[in-house]
Symmetry: C2
């Protein structure tokens, strides 16, 4: 007896869309054996039909319009791989839900901005939205967090989730090049989005973090309250100095529930060089999940690319084929708490780099300002003088961003510090 | 409207069983919000009722017999945490399936020996058997492999899945101690099973590997065909020498499908020191999954202990509560292929350590024997003489176990090699 097939409509035939087509074609038997049902593609759409694509699409109906695709009677699952957080993708996804289709999407921006409304709509219609491919490419982190760790109260979720930023930072270190040079290299290699600020500004990674935070802490997605800082101010000097102190610099996303509310940060951080996060090289992604029972789970894999992202899409498709049906963010959308956003102030050690003028008592003055602000010094290193100033590195004991900012604001008045001190949080991992 | 609860019967109240009780009690609201149904415990059983346990069990019915527990009308999910691959656990699990219960188990030995029969019985009865806790403790590796990577043809599955062995090997290295000394330390610390050969002989880890291989390659569980070698012959000398050549020694499980059939190995291997597997310290577990689309995914976490293992059990319970229903090994048991076992002979580089007598032309004779066996040398290092012999380390180019064995069998006849050469496979990771 032939089982009812699952019929996919794929909107968007870029790298990932074509990757999905290839898997469905190559592994028809394997997918059917594992899910108990044939997985078929019935219709596709993309902006430009005439474009030469690396797959045979002749067996599929072609739609000019994603909304029309989403509404087709012969589509059970609408696979949205168009991108963009407004306009066509949003309209099509809403049309799919309204037409009783399940949805698989890789669109982190759309869910970061409209996740709560879409999840409500899907649940009202009895449909599911799945988005494994939206976060950390091929790493099944949404599944791990939503399902595998469902017995845990989550404590903290962390991740290096933008491969381009990690490529830039590790390349700066290994080649001793400036940010600007490696940024241009990465752009020339096609590693950056058309708007590179999505990558180096941390926006893309912050989209992902906001989705993980919603699942982990049972709160409505709240992208707007992510504290955001890109990697543009990271100098090769800081990378080297941090290395001297045993750290690596990463664009690290951290979400944790504090007594003051949900804290979400996507900012450059120092992490111990010998930790799994510290050892992460190049474009690879890593997510660290901490639960009250499971302790720390680390997941590592390719964060982008045709194969890995298509693998994540297909994992979602297979779950739907097998009858797995969960709320979008793990908890029913009606029960997700409105997030109380906390300013990112959870205690942590900080790394400080100052340029100190060659004056008697200079270091004492700095130490006094720090002490008055309640910041105590764990480790300090002063380098030899370069012209009239000497670099000084300080690793503090645990303190708050507020205390650090307070101290930094008072340093100029000492008259012994040249330029702006650099302060970067050290995340304990 | 109160949803129908999921009622658990827990057989076995050791560390893990009590861990599960604690989670159900502590997180009642969280579990209900996430699954949409209350998770309740109705009945428990264990060998000794009078034993003092770290949880309040007064609200649960007590059964003397696990089979009676498995058959209770007020139990929906039978949670088997008794252990042992014959007898009570097997009888109770079979009784549970026959009585229409779903099963969650942490029993790797039982599934390694009887997985196929149990999966067939469960599918015939329309019930599910889930066993996340059986492999790599808190790491959701069964879920990742079965569901997250369901769109991939798997290429290779690897793992360090016995924390005690990894503790022993990394402790030998860091403290410079012999295997025997650290083995006794580990036993005194309670890190080893009552029968330590389950750990250091690789049996426990091989049970786990055979379960992963079944899911990955769609074959019936075949524990008997795992090539098995424990860590007892690993000397501190080899750990140091391997380190000199840039490697660490791990008890590494590897499963891969070859042209000759399914190859499953649980043996000491060298891995690059700077790889994620090479960097793994102490009792932590790591699993590496390689799929044709996803590339390489690395999962790391606690492989044992109350919290992590109970977390895995609860992940399975939550899936059942949410209505997720999959075949035991991902593919229906009736469609799993009878495994064609291949002798472990997939090409790899090897590490050789020889003690060479101080004779003219000694090294040339060794090189000739290797060359005649088709083994070519990639790197070689000779150390200074100790008494009458000098240690020689060789890293070969890719070759086969057969070729290495052939060469080693001919080395004594050269008259220049003292004692038995050591040969350890280098797994490329």
């Amino acid at each position: 007896m032939r089982q009812t097939p699952v019929r996919l409509g794929i909107a968007g035939l870029g790298t990932v869309g074509i990757g999905v087509v290839k898997i469905v074609q190559r592994h028809a038997d394997l997918l059917a054996a594992r899910s108990g049902r044939p997985i078929e593609i019935t219709a596709v759409c993309a902006r430009d039909r005439s474009k030469n694509r690396d797959a045979d699409l002749s067996g599929y109906a072609w739609e000019e319009d994603a909304v029309a695709l989403a509404r087709r009677d012969d589509v059970d699952v609408f696979v949205e791989l168009m991108g963009g957080h407004e306009g066509a993708a949003k309209n099509a996804l809403e049309a799919a839900i309204a037409s009783g289709k399940d949805v698989v999407t890789a669109n982190k921006a759309l869910l970061a901005h409209h996740g709560q409304a879409l999840a409500l709509a899907a649940e009202e219609a009895g449909r599911v939205i799945r988005f494994e491919a939206a976060v950390a490419g091929g790493i099944p982190v949404i599944k791990t967090l939503t399902e595998g760790l469902a017995g845990n109260a989550l404590r903290r979720v962390m991740g290096v989730m933008n491969g381009s930023c990690n490529y830039i930072l590790t390349r700066m270190e290994s080649a001793g090049l400036s940010y600007e040079t490696v940024f241009e290299e990465a752009r020339a290699l096609g590693y950056l989005e058309a708007d590179p600020n999505l990558d180096v500004g941390g926006i893309d990674a912050a989209h992902k973090l906001s989705l993980l935070a919603s699942i982990a802490f049972g709160t409505q997605v709240s992208f707007d309250t992510v504290e955001l800082e890109g990697i543009g101010r990271i100098s090769i000097d800081d990378i080297r100095r941090a290395g001297d102190m045993g750290y690596k610099i990463k664009l690290l996303g951290v979400a944790q529930m504090t007594g003051r509310g949900l804290e979400q940060r996507m900012t450059p951080c120092l992490v111990p060089a010998e930790s799994p996060l510290g050892q992460l090289q190049g474009g690879t992604n890593m997510v660290v999940l901490e639960g009250d029972s499971v302790g720390q789970i680390v997941l590592r894999g390719a964060g982008a690319g045709e194969g890995p992202t298509a693998s994540a899409v297909m994992g979602d498709v297979m779950d739907i084929a097998r009858g797995t049906r969960l709320p979008t963010f793990g908890t029913p959308a009606t029960q997700l708490a409105a997030p109380t956003a906390a300013r990112a102030n959870a205690p942590a050690p900080f790394y400080l780099r100052l340029e100190l003028f060659d004056k008697p008592g200079a270091l004492a003055k700095v130490a006094t300002v720090l002490g008055d602000a309640g910041v105590s010094i764990s480790r300090m290193r002063q380098y030899g003088h370069e012209d009239t100033t000497a670099p000084v590195l300080i690793v503090t004991h645990k303190t708050t961003r507020d205390a650090i900012d307070h101290a930094i604001a008072r340093l100029p008045a000492t008259g012994v510090v040249d330029g702006d001190p650099v302060a970067i949080r050290i995340e304990e991992v």
